[in-house]
């Protein structure tokens, strides 16, 4: 059980994440939805401490994650894998090495500095890549791949970490609909077959509905919805996505394939990657 207790992240004059308390049982697939700037990303990044919380705590197995330091913190990050919107692969390394970096936590200093990976690491990486249908690209340089392929490599990297949790920060926001489906299917399979808890930031409502056991809605850093997808009414969704979407709000329009009803231009300005994603 992952327990968030009044978890807060405040910047100078506002709270990006405002005292959020949650219980997430292991094995769940959780979708976090909300407008851009609602605090989804900050929340997720606090879970594996890429962002430092300013208040509250994250408890797992009776340990407070927010207090971890040094080697314990690295161990937690190794257990709590992350997939990013922009994949965050090392473009100049080949695919297999990128995946094997998922094992870095288990290496000693010299071996990791000299890039000495074992046959076991290689086998794990190949198996993970194979599950995602990417094993044939193993020796290609990562920046020669397409966006969808890179995201699958990034998921393979997360898999070889053997994580208990997999955090996905807008994993499909930069992908075309077909690749978005492949990636979301992969995340769902990992969740169901491996029993890994998947917590996924999603921009679009229907993706969340289609894949997640549970949906969490954020608006301006506050928790405004927490429940099964069926419980999410149109009125509630409207509240999550804010006033701008009210007039033209329609479920179909928030799909992965289509742009967001009104604030698309505003969003593109706030988040250039989003605009790039739309342009593809």
């Amino acid at each position: 059980m992952l327990k968030l207790d009044r978890l807060t992240k405040s910047f100078k004059n506002r709270n990006a994440v405002n005292a959020i308390s949650l219980d997430i049982p292991e094995g769940q697939m959780v979708g976090i939805i909300g407008r851009s700037g609602a605090g989804k990303s900050t929340l997720l990044r606090m879970l594996n401490r890429l962002a430092e919380p300013t208040g509250g705590s994250i408890i797992i197995d009776g340990r407070d994650i927010t207090a971890l330091k040094g080697r314990d913190l690295l161990a937690w990050r190794a257990t709590c894998a992350m997939v990013f919107q922009q994949f965050n692969l090392v473009g100049r390394l080949d695919v297999i090495t990128n995946v094997m970096t998922g094992r870095l936590y288990h290496h000693n200093f010299l071996a990791s500095m000299l890039q000495l990976f074992t046959d076991e690491d290689r086998a794990r990486a190949i198996r993970a890549l194979d599950r995602l249908g990417m094993a044939h690209t193993a020796l290609q340089q990562a920046d020669t791949l397409s966006g969808g392929q890179m995201q699958r490599v990034a998921i393979a990297r997360a898999l070889v970490q053997e994580p208990r949790f997999l955090l996905a920060d807008e994993p499909i926001a930069s992908l075309d609909p077909l690749n978005a489906k492949i990636v979301m299917d992969a995340l769902r399979t990992i969740n169901q077959d491996d029993g890994i808890t998947v917590i996924c930031n999603l921009h679009t409502l229907d993706t969340a509905r289609a894949y997640c056991d549970r949906i969490i809605g954020l608006a301006d850093g506050n928790l405004v919805f927490d429940g099964a997808p069926e419980a999410l009414t149109e009125a509630k969704a409207r509240e999550i996505y804010g006033a701008e979407s009210a007039e033209a709000f329609s479920e179909g329009l928030t799909s992965t394939t289509l742009d967001f009803p009104i604030p698309a231009a505003a969003m593109a300005a706030a988040q250039p990657e989003y605009a790039m994603g739309l342009a593809r």
Binding site: R122, A123, I126, A135
Partner: protein, 283 residues
Amino acid sequence: MTPASTLSQNDIVWARAQHPQVFNVKGKRIVFALIWAVIIAYLIGSLWYFDIGRFASASDRAWRLISAMFVWRDIETWQFGSIYTAIAQTLAMAFLGTLLGSIAALFIGFLAARTTMPIPFVRQIVRRILDVFRGVDQLVWGLVFVRAVGLGPLAGVLAIFISDMGTLSKLYSEALENIDRKQVEGVRATGAGPIKVMRYGYLPQVLPVFISQSLYFFESSTRSATILGLVGAGGVGMIIIERFRANYFDQVTFVVLNVLVCVYAIDWISKKIRERYIGEQAH
């Protein structure tokens, strides 16, 4: 818990069978190890050949030197006047050398650029002479001019002049080759003669670049002018070597610190001027 956490020998065998090339890293590792072995062997060998061991045996002497550099004694006897005069002289040398070098380069640049010098033979001769000016280090020019005109700043100015002229002419001629031809055509179309074409067609386009580069060279000449004195070519370097030879190491430290501050100040001012008046184009 997860199927991925157990990895048997069979899994490795399976992965190797599927993608043998991924597991074939021996060759790569040998090459990698060999390259590093050669580099390290070279480093150890060359350091041994150059007698690195002297650092171990000289530590006592080195320690006395370092302590003498940082414990400042008899500060009232340091003759600050001569130190700051020498620093001013260094700046003056850099200024005059760069100024003369720029003026000379203004003419030579036109002779060395393809766009303004139609005769390939002349161009090549000019360029080869420039290569010699640049190829010989400024300090060597300093030494040569000290032999020719005697100790003092004149040799320094000449050394800066020669090496700046060599490099600036090359940069100027490159700037001339990269200009917009249309503006030159425009001036030529008004019936202007070759001199007027140079004056109105070329100069307005390249002058900002020239000035920017000359300022940059003033900056770098101040740096190099500080050491010209080590061979007797005037400026603060002469103070440094004089007091070093007299074992006034604390004074040497003081002078060097002053020079550093001065050089940073010049860098900063010149950067500001270039940003303010020339904009972001070519340095």
